[in-house]
Amino acid sequence: MEKMKLKLLYSDLKPELEMIEKELEQAVDSESLLLNDASLHLLQAGGKRIRPVFVLLAGKFGNYDINVLKKVAVPLELIHMASLVHDDVIDDSEIRRGQPTVKSQWNNSVAMYTGDFILARALEHITKIESPRVHEILSKTLIEVCRGEIIQIQDKYRLDQNLRDYFRRIKRKTALLISSSCELGALVSGTDEKTAAHLRRFGYFIGMSFQIIDDILDFTSTDEELGKPAGSDFIQGNITLPILCARKDPELYAMLKSNLNKNLSDEERFKVVEAIRNSSGIEEAKAMSERYLQKALRELSFLPKGQGVKTMRKIAFFIGKRKF
């Protein structure tokens, strides 16, 4: 339902998004039946397609040409997909978006090769664009996203990490790719540097807000709504903002510490989720997300008024209030 609502927000982009969806399907087409199945399985599990949407919306501030914009939108979504297949191996995740993951349906090796294949397809696609600036931004983003993931593993189970560690991590893990989506959409559409910079910053702030909300929802949503067990972040040792805010309570801190890095039964998992849900951590994290949202909206105020800003504003508000 929530995904439907989000899609309604950018319904004016429907024809373009359908075109991108088809391009994505063609992009993962392979001579290997297994790779085809695995990639389509991933593609058809859906997703918000937030990155392509931001590419298209950013394109509204320049010479909007879907045939140019799709050359950026498709690879960005492919890069995101490739990272998801590998993340599921790292996190040993059985379910994503309510569907079995590639690693669970086949095995870790097939997931590794599927991710490599999809990433290579993304690079093959993006080379259709000759602009060196586009490649500079994208290659830097790819590296930073990986570094973010490496830091995430380094920081796992570290209940005593500081907020800066968390923000540094989510910046690289999520915000950079969304920020690059906005900037690249702007650049390939020939917008001026100043507009591209505002769009990049908008993408960054909205990406930070988006990830914080994601981390909150991991505790406040049900297993069904999430399409995976609630509290998965905690189980996997990912110390997110709600936990970092909630740990001030010494009792809760002790409880979290004693449950960290353990094989929790469903009952124990629910207890942890419930404790975080009832703590001040959720509200504090929401406030933090709201601050990023406001910063994102401020960036929009510097942009020329029009349909692009209107839709971006709506999406920003939706992200702040989404339920799952």
Binding site: S32, L34, H86, V89, I90, V110, C146, I151
Partner: protein
Amino acid sequence: MKGHQIQSKIISMEIEVLNAVRQRTLDQFTEGPSVKESRLFFLLLPFFSGKTWSPDIEASAKTVSIVYAALHAHDQIKEDAPIIKEQQLTVLAGDLYSGIYYQMLVNAKNIVMVQRLASAIIKVSESKTSFFEEEFRTVEEIEEAITVIETELLMSFYTFYGYTEYAPLAKQALLYIRYAEELKRLQSKNYSHFLRELNTNLVHENYTKYWLTEKLDSLHEQILASIADCALDYELAQFLLHQITPHQHRAEQLTREG
């Protein structure tokens, strides 16, 4: 070029690859980037043979090595078990190396090479995945998949820079090395997907062993012929034959096994 100079150039390339992808956490918890000496030898073969070579070409050869390291990292991931920290970081090491090769080629303004390598990675991934498919394949089809896995990246480098005269020799030698490794695995009953498929295809593992030893002999003969075709100088040919593809004839192997 003398043997020790060849060795030293290979080591220097290996160190450059290591420095290009260095990352503190990965250094601490993973085995680090790994590129086989044989692949580095063949990437540098045009240089060893005195062909046109430039810093740009050498940088490009380095990026191919990094792609090899990236794909190798992902080959190290255990197939079924939930993976531990070292393996989690190995997944990310492979991804990071991919980002680094892309960035290096972007900095060198060599976008066409990015495209060529991406296409090669696609073929390699397809061939690797083919070993997990259930459909029956002929031995020739299995061989074709192994050839792609072992040589496609190098071939894209040779084609791009016009070094295709070395392609037959490199293919034979890299296949030779792979089959020699597979024979060792077979002897220690450490079956790879390739061996399992070959065993099924050839009905009994004794036939697989026979097939592999025959292949090694035949590839060795082909390597000797290709060395002559490429007019490799004596030192270079000796390095290849003794350091990269040391050969034991089938009869010698059988004698050793008693």
